[in-house]
Amino acid sequence: MSENARRGAARTSALIPLAVAAALLTGCSTAGPDAPPVDFGSTAGAPAPATATAAPARFAAPERVLVPAVGLDARIRPVGVTADGAVAVPADPGRAGWYRFGPEPGSARGSAVLVGHVDGETGALGEFAALYDVRPGDRVEVRRTGAEPVVYRVVSRTTVSKDDLPSSVFRRTGAPVLTLVTCAPPFVPERGGYQANLVVTARPLEA
């Protein structure tokens, strides 16, 4: 059984009693229904400097992002900012947006940012909802126009208040990473919906 299928099954039924036990053991049952996915890895501290040996990569537009282990597969379009200065996340939850003012996936430096809705206004789950299930080491592939795909490995996942999204997510210098951002609980309709961002960081796969 493939990794994807195995985890898919886990999500629906097979491991529920076990998962309940795990939740109780880790004390997470007190967090309530709106608990975000658990954090892992570390994104703290200053980014390591980009390696001097990195060849100047030629720009190639990202067109599709895949995380096979969790079944994430979304087409990408470049996005900018809205009138109120937020990232213009594609309305279609099946789509991902690449923040075009920052580095592109495959760039030799900085954080290439992909954003996607966790769910849509009509109730459809977004492709990026699958980020709730990623684990350290999961492979992330970004296919590009006119260039080889770039491959990353997930190293961390953190949930932060939307108001406290670190500016380092959008850094344009330092070691290259891919940063995937979606929304996370708590969900408070009277306060505009989701109150947090889920931030998944992935590092380039060593060649």
Binding site: G85, D119, G120, D163, V181, F187
Partner: protein, 275 residues
């Protein structure tokens, strides 16, 4: 801070960056602080040497070019512009005392006045941050020409700009086709020229030359490092991702397991992971 200077000439001339001599000292130093200073040459047909307090600052400086910003001690400089090779003993083509305040980022422009007389004007460059997705556009009228309007994509951006004034604004980053028209008219006097206004940059466009001599042109000076990050990422919809599994199957599990639905909802989030 300023990371680079680039030059785009709509009509002619090659890009040329000259380093300012850093040995020049001000006549009266205000403090130990430095200012970042660049020099723009906008007097047509005259290759010049630029002296500051009697020392050569720039040699063989060609019209339509701008230097990279260089640190200079703050203070007052006696700036003299000579026809190339004629200084510093002869009569300068232009001479002016320029105040360089500490911490400032300034461009000294040698250019024609509205009536065609060579003169020097010091402009302070706004290198403050811009909003995400934006670029700063500044236009400086340093040409021997009457007041102008500046249009981008056919829309007026600046109106009634006179020599030697500037106007500036923040615009959406991207490529725009800009032209310069006689104020209040559709009579194009320069352009159109494509301006690549990169996000997080400051772009200073000099309208220079002489209307009478039909050599009006644009030159661009670019400042980087003014970008900021977006305000937020709103990537949620109606809450389906937190409530999708709260009915049906999950309620059945809750009943079967004798566990409250809340725990199961939490469990759902762990069910896809190693336990």
């Amino acid at each position: 801070m300023v990371s680079r200077t680039s030059l785009t000439i709509a009509t002619a001339a090659g890009a040329c960056a000259l380093a300012l001599g850093v040995t020049v000292t001000p006549a009266a130093a205000d403090s130990d602080d430095k200012a970042m200073v660049s020099v723009f040459h906008g007097v047509p047909g005259l290759t010049v040497d630029v002296y500051a307090n009697g020392d050569e600052l720039l040699g063989d400086f060609k019209p339509g070019t701008v230097t990279d910003p260089q640190p200079l001690d703050a203070g007052t400089y006696d700036i003299q512009v000579f026809e190339a090779g004629k200084g510093p003993e002869g009569e300068p083509a232009i001479e002016k005392k320029i105040e360089v305040p500490a911490g400032a980022n300034a461009t000294v422009a040698a250019h024609l006045s509205a009536d065609g007389t060579p003169q020097l004007t010091a402009f302070v460059n706004d290198v403050s941050k811009v909003d995400a997705g934006k670029a700063r556009l500044t236009v400086r009228h340093v040409a021997a020409a009457p007041a102008v309007d500046v249009r981008a994509g056919g829309q007026p951006v600046f109106k009634g700009l006179e020599n030697p004034k500037e106007q500036l604004t923040e615009v959406e980053a991207g490529s725009v086709s800009a032209d310069v028209v006689a104020a209040g008219t559709d009579t194009v006097v320069i352009g159109p020229a494509d301006l690549d206004l990169k996000e997080g940059t400051g772009n200073v466009v000099y309208a220079w030359g002489s209307a009478e001599d039909k050599n009006l042109a644009l030159a661009t000076q670019t400042f980087g490092g003014m970008e900021t990050t977006p305000q937020a990422v709103h990537a949620g919809g109606n809450g389906a991702a937190v409530s999708a599994n709260s009915s049906g199957e999950w309620m059945a599990w809750a009943a079967a397991g004798g566990t409250v639905a809340l725990s199961l909802l939490v469990a759902r989030r762990f069910s896809g992971r190693r336990v």
